[in-house]
C-alpha cells in the first residue's frame, strides 16, 4: 500500500467520502459537498457553454469578438456595415432571443422569455413529430412485419449442436416479437373496453411489459453497482494504493 502523493486525489477522496457519509445520516459534511457540487456543476456549464457555444456561434459570427478586440476575423456586422450581405447577420435575432431568455431573472418582465421558449418548444415539437414517427413508429412497424417463423434461421440451424438462443430465435423468436409488440399495443389501446378476446390480448400484453421491466430492472441494478465499484476502486486504488 502506498498512498497517493497528489493533492488533487486527496481532495477527490475527501469529497467521495463526504458524499457517502450521507448513508449513515444527513450531516454538515454531506451538506457541504452537495452545496459544492451544485455550485461547481452550475459553473462548469456556465463556462463551457460560453466558450463552446456563445463565443464561436454568436460572438464570432456576429463580429462582436472583433469589436472587443479579441479576434481578427470579420463577423457579419463588419461585413454588412462594409456593404456586403452576410447571412450570418440572422444570428442577431438568436442573440436577442437568448437575451430575452435571461430576462426571466426579472419577474416583472419575465414573460418576454416566452418568445425564446416558443422557438425551443416549436423546434422540438416539429422535430419530434417527424423523428418519432420515422424511427419509433415506421421503423418499428417495418421490423414487426416479419414471418411468424423464420425459415432462413431454421435452415441455418446446426443440427443438434445448436444453442438455446439459436433454436429459440429460429422457431419462436419472430412469434414472440410479433405477439409481444401487438398485444402490448392492445394494452395501450384506450378507446375500447378490455373484454373478451381483446381483453385477453391486453393481459398477454401486460405480462410482456412486466418481463420488459424485469429486464430493465436487472440492468439498472447492474448500472448502479458499476458506479459504486468505480468509486471504491478509486478509493482503494488511486488514493490508498492497495490495488494497481
Amino acid at each position: 500500500m502506498h498512498l497517493s502523493g497528489e493533492f488533487g486525489v486527496w481532495i477527490a477522496a475527501f469529497l467521495t467520502i463526504g458524499i457517502t457519509s450521507f448513508l449513515y445520516k444527513d450531516n454538515p459534511i454531506y451538506k457541504f459537498c452537495e452545496a459544492l457540487f451544485v455550485g461547481i456543476s452550475a459553473g462548469y456549464w456556465f463556462v463551457s457553454l460560453y466558450f463552446q457555444n456563445l463565443l464561436p456561434k454568436l460572438f464570432d459570427n456576429l463580429g462582436i469578438t472583433k469589436m472587443l478586440g479579441l479576434g481578427e476575423d470579420n463577423g457579419a456586422i463588419q461585413n454588412v456595415l462594409a456593404g456586403q450581405w452576410d447571412e450570418r447577420i440572422w444570428y442577431v435575432l438568436a442573440g436577442i432571443l437568448g437575451l430575452m431568455m435571461i430576462l426571466r431573472l426579472f419577474p416583472n418582465i419575465g414573460w418576454i422569455s416566452r418568445w425564446p421558449l416558443a422557438v425551443v418548444v416549436g423546434s422540438t415539437s416539429g422535430l419530434y413529430m417527424i423523428t418519432y414517427f420515422q424511427s419509433n413508429f415506421l421503423s418499428q412497424l417495418q421490423k414487426t412485419v416479419i414471418p411468424l417463423i423464420d425459415l432462413g434461421r431454421v435452415a441455418a440451424l446446426p443440427g443438434g449442436s445448436g444453442t438455446l438462443d439459436e433454436y429459440f430465435a429460429a422457431y419462436l423468436g419472430n412469434l414472440v416479437l410479433v405477439v409481444g409488440t401487438l398485444t402490448g399495443l392492445v394494452y395501450f389501446y384506450f378507446s375500447k373496453e378490455h373484454k373478451g378476446a381483446f381483453g385477453n390480448a391486453a393481459k398477454v400484453g401486460i405480462y410482456f411489459l412486466m418481463i420488459t421491466f424485469g429486464a430493465s430492472f436487472g440492468y439498472t441494478v447492474m448500472s448502479r453497482m458499476s458506479l459504486l465499484i468505480g468509486r471504491l476502486y478509486f478509493l482503494f486504488g488511486d488514493w490508498l494504493g492497495f490495488v494497481r
Partner: protein
C-alpha cells in the same frame, strides 16, 4: 403580445421542421438550419439562466439568513471559483485542455462529486430490493423472475450456477437472459416506444397548431 407572438413563433418554427422533411427545396432547408442554430444559442442561454437563477436563489438565502445559508455561501463561492478559473486562468478557448486549472477542478472536484452522487444509488437499489420488491401478485412475480435471470445471466456467476444445475453448454442461464433481452424485452420496449411516440406526436401537433398552450404557463 404576451401570447400571440409566441404562438406564431412556435407554429412557424415547428412547421418549418415538419415541411422541410418532405420538401427539401430552398428556403426550407436554410430556415431549418437557421432555427437549429437559434435553438442551440437559446438553449445555451437557458442553461446560463439556470446558473444565474441558482446564484440568485442562493444570494437570497444568504441575505435572508435562511436555514442552511452557510451552504448557500459554499455554492456561490464554488460557482465563482470555477467560473473565474475557467474564464481567466485556463487559456481562454483552450480552457478544457488537460493541465489547465479548469481541467484540474473538473478532474478532482467535479468528477468525484457527480460520480459519487450516482454511486450512492447502488446502496439504495440494494435496500429497495430488500424492502420494496415483493412478489405481490402474478405480474410482480414475473417481473422479479425476469430480473433474476438477467441479473444472473449477465455475470460469470451464471456459468457456475448453470453447471451446478447440470445445464449443458449453450443451454444455460446466460442464453436464457439473451433470449429475454433480445425478444421479450424488445417486444415490450417496442410497444412502449410506439405508444409514447404516438403520444409525443399528437402533443407536438397540438403545440404547433396552438391547441396546447400549457407550456406558456397561465397569466
Amino acid at each position: 403580445m404576451k401570447r400571440e407572438i409566441p404562438l406564431i413563433l412556435t407554429a412557424v418554427v415547428g412547421l418549418t421542421f415538419v415541411v422541410q422533411f418532405f420538401i427539401p427545396h430552398y428556403p426550407l432547408g436554410f430556415m431549418a438550419d437557421m432555427f437549429s442554430d437559434w435553438f442551440s444559442i437559446v438553449a445555451a442561454c437557458a442553461i446560463w439562466l439556470g446558473a444565474l437563477n441558482l446564484l440568485k436563489i442562493s444570494l437570497n438565502k444568504v441575505y435572508k439568513k435562511e436555514k442552511d445559508w452557510f451552504f448557500a455561501i459554499v455554492t456561490i463561492i464554488s460557482f465563482l471559483v470555477i467560473v473565474i478559473a475557467g474564464f481567466f486562468f485556463s487559456g481562454g478557448r483552450r480552457f478544457q485542455e488537460p493541465g489547465t486549472n479548469f481541467d484540474w477542478l473538473y478532474i478532482n472536484v467535479y468528477s468525484p462529486l457527480s460520480a459519487t452522487m450516482f454511486a450512492m444509488l447502488a446502496f439504495y437499489v440494494a435496500s429497495a430490493s430488500y424492502r420494496a420488491f415483493r412478489a405481490r401478485n402474478a405480474q410482480a412475480t414475473i417481473l422479479l423472475l425476469a430480473a433474476f435471470v438477467v441479473m444472473v445471466g449477465r455475470t460469470p456467476f451464471s456459468d457456475w450456477l448453470s453447471n451446478l444445475l447440470f445445464m449443458p453448454e449453450g443451454w444455460q442461464i446466460s442464453n436464457l437472459s439473451n433470449i429475454i433481452m433480445n425478444f421479450f424485452n424488445v417486444a415490450g420496449q417496442r410497444a412502449i416506444m410506439i405508444g409514447i411516440s404516438l403520444g409525443l406526436i399528437s402533443t407536438a401537433l397540438r403545440i404547433i397548431l396552438g391547441i396546447e398552450r400549457t407550456y406558456l404557463g397561465g397569466d
